[in-house]
Symmetry: C2
Subunit: 307 residues, 2 copies
């Protein structure tokens, strides 16, 4: 197949966009599209300092690369979770992220969970009841906590994560299956800054995994392909698999599902439900200083400090 | 496996209820559950006259059977759509429904679309643009129209359809995928009567297809097993298949999805959006007299009369 913009061979065909592009026009299109999403959802401007959460995988390195090329002031944050196994997952991922940063002379901040907190994420997942039940939930909690903490401490105005279309639709699908009334309204391309919380943005939510992977490959980014060993068999992966089957039958259905949801939110079709107590009162956690509704240690510090 | 209530062999095991029952206790449980749903959702009482829409399939004959056993005043309505093919689908289904009614000395009303309207549903599906695009949608429109019309003409206070859990979750899933903001809030166990519209209830929406089939088999109901030949490859069947895969991985997920949705509605999480014109004005269709917002012929009469 030929590129729709020049006579070269196409490297990717996107059925839902009725578009095929070559190795030169694809990254150009991908970068332009990202800029359009950033503007459309008013994510940030060239005046902002942006912290990009990088995992060493295709999505986050692609995002950092695109923001760098678009001239944004973007530094990276790598959280070393201490996940090992046969393949030293966390250390290898850190190296990939560091190499990427060094090649572009970009600044990468490292947060090593075990060094800072005295215990790795897998160790907590094994020690705590909640961790044994839902290791991915505990890991997500620690990551969100750490990203917000680091962004604030380092003085960034925006935290960018590289969640893609597949991530978002599988979260949305899972949240709708269980009608998680708290989470559904929080799923948005932008979460505005609130007292103690930095502004959070997701510039890649319109791109599929296939599209971010193709960008990274074409751009020669050396990313870690391995999935986290803990993710195997997770519900998120089940949902992705199921939504991919549907996408084959109805090309474009994933994007329509997500955009239809944003539209339903904008039109006021979905109304966030107030907590029964009404307004939630946030106080600083006595250990880390981040806002929490618990009245004592925040959920993350409690994980590390309960024994 | 043994029945949970007696030493007999179980004929069905329901993982989501952690329950296995024999050929005697299963129909008893099934009938009691139906009565509970009828009361829970305040569908109707023994003072109501109920018209049951029957197709000759397992769900609708089971529903009529259960209502009859519970002592409700329930008559049947069979709509002959004129669907033929190698297997004379509509005529065979009508015979099954008639035989069921005769065995129980129940009254079955027949509405023969071609005799009354001069044209069968497949003929309309072939002749009209809309029918060629979406034959199931056109058939659904004609059936809903006819059921309401007949219920009103025959003086019934309630129209009962035998939609089961699988039907409801696949509709809900499809409506959420495309964020059909008009349809989502209308998916409910009860649609109250409005000017020109009879009260509509769905007493079987908590039962899976497997459960209604097991009831019909145990009770010796001779139902038509064939699916409508037009349904093959439809999106609804794709969604059912996909949700069944999920149910295997997470037993009970379909029921939780539907009940969670009802709860979200009750809590006001979902707000029906008013039409842009505000209140919809309904006038009687000059041909059939049923309420319509078109200002002229209703959508169904237009299908039959446009040439």
């Amino acid at each position: 197949m030929r590129c729709h913009k020049c006579p070269q061979r196409a490297v990717i065909r996107m059925r839902q966009h009725r578009l095929a592009l070559c190795k030169d026009h694809y990254p150009q299109w991908f970068i332009e599209q990202t800029q359009r999403f950033i503007e459309k959802y008013r994510m940030f401007t060239h005046q902002d300092r942006i912290l990009v959460a990088v995992s060493g995988g295709k999505d986050s390195l692609a995002l950092w690369d695109v923001l760098w090329q678009l001239g944004y002031e973007a530094e990276g944050l790598y959280i070393n979770l201490g996940i090992g196994g046969e393949f030293a997952y966390s250390d290898e991922s850190q190296q990939a992220a560091q190499k990427f940063a060094d090649q572009r002379r970009l600044k990468l901040h490292i947060y090593h969970v075990e060094e800072r907190r005295g215990e790795s994420v897998p160790a907590i997942a094994l020690r705590t009841h909640r961790g044994r039940q839902k290791p991915c939930a505990v890991c997500g909690l620690i990551k969100r906590h750490t990203m917000n903490q680091m962004a604030r401490q380092l003085g960034f105005s925006v935290l960018a994560t590289a969640h893609n279309l597949d991530d978002e639709v599988s979260f949305l699908f899972g949240n709708l299956l269980s009608w998680n009334l708290r989470q559904i309204p929080r799923q948005s391309p932008v979460l505005e800054a609130e007292e103690g919380f930095v502004r959070k943005v997701k510039p890649f939510i319109r791109f599929s995994e296939r599209e971010t992977a193709a960008y990274s490959i074409v751009r020669g980014i050396e990313y870690i392909e391995e999935e986290c060993p803990f993710a195997e068999g997770s519900k998120q992966l089940q949902y992705k698999d199921l939504l991919n089957r549907l996408e084959e039958q109805q090309p474009g259905v994933k994007l329509r599902f997500l955009l239809g949801f944003f539209n339903a939110m904008e039109q006021g079709f979905i109304h966030p439900i107030e907590d029964e107590q009404g307004e939630v009162i946030l106080n600083p956690c006595p250990s880390c200083g981040q806002p929490t509704s618990t009245g004592d240690l925040c959920a993350t510090c409690r994980l590390f400090e309960e024994n």
